[in-house]
Amino acid sequence: MADRIAFELVSPERLLLSVEADMVVVPGAEGDFAVLVGHQPMISLLRPGSIDVYDGDKIAERVFVAGGFVEVTGEKLVVLAEEATAFRDVDRAALAERIAAARKALEEMPDHEHKRTAAEEFLIYLEHMYEVSHVN
């Protein structure tokens, strides 16, 4: 099994996903990057976005994450995410509500630089999720 990478997605509450894949594309803090087996060991931050798990040429699994951490060792890719939603589980109605709530929270937020950026990113993430799930 040396030519496939083991991918694990972990939330604080449980192990969400543990599969083998040919390639995984993760939204790194400084740009998306693809991880194949034998990748240089690295630790990176994630920005809100989607993780695509490739099986051959097609996307086998698509998961949205609201940020987190990723650790790559040669054969393994571990993503620690506080919030993750599988593509097929996206509930558009609930999502629309959350977008509205996030927008409101952002408007009411005082000019606290650090928090504000985080809130903005979160809103973009929600909107991105909404848009992509439209295709579904």
Binding site: E8, E13, P41, I43, L45, F69, E82
Partner: protein
Amino acid sequence: MPSLKTLRVRINSVKSTQKITKAMKMVAASKLRRAQEAAEAARPFSERMERMLAALAAALGTNDGAPRLLIGTGRSDVHLLVVATADRGLCGAFNSSICRAARRHAAELIAAGKTVKILCVGRKGRDILRRGLAGQILDTLPITHSKRVNYADAALVAERIAEWFAAGEFDVCTLFYNRFRSVIAQVVTTRQIIPAALPDAGPAPDLGGAIYEYEPEEDEILERLLPRNLAVQIYRALLENAASEQGARMTAMDNATRNAGDMINRLTLSYNRSRQAVITKELIEIISGAQAV
């Protein structure tokens, strides 16, 4: 000698108490199983996070640039004790043993001339510590807003602690909770969370001699990772606590049920005795009445 009627009433009331304790024991048993499962499921995340943290800390070293959550403020004048207990009682010595440990720790610190502040997580802790340490309690947070311990609640506690730390309210933070060993044994555990006591890294993943690449820089990742780590540690403590609480309640209710059974036996015995005494007395009266005629 209590009358037959009062005995009967007492037996009935003990019986219904026994029913309640029995039911509570069974509820605790099923909740315990769920709490254990939750604790089990949360393990991968904290394990991996600790490993990441250890790798980062090793890469960064303990120079002055390291985040303060990791290396502390360099002083230890003000201590914050985070006391995690249950919201409810009737679980044996569960709450009191945590509070006893916290109280002892606080007394030691005060004797050493330090300032002590307390954050209670769970209502029972506040109720117990209020006697004697009321002035030290900064705040009380409920363990959870929903039925089960969830990460969001732990994150809330962690956020509060991190805010206080950033505001310079304290230098060292220690967490008190019960570690679940088995249904009958829960161990009061004290854990220093700020400055982060570095976990034993465990077997480092084999990188074949390569070193980690960081993106962005180490310190930036650490800055994001440390508050999360705080939340995860508190989350784990709350999970352990939840399992311990149910375990302690199960044992306590089992004892209570057994005590109630013993009591019912004793009461039934004395009920039967006095019933027979009454019958004997009546017979004697009848017989001696008949002889007199």
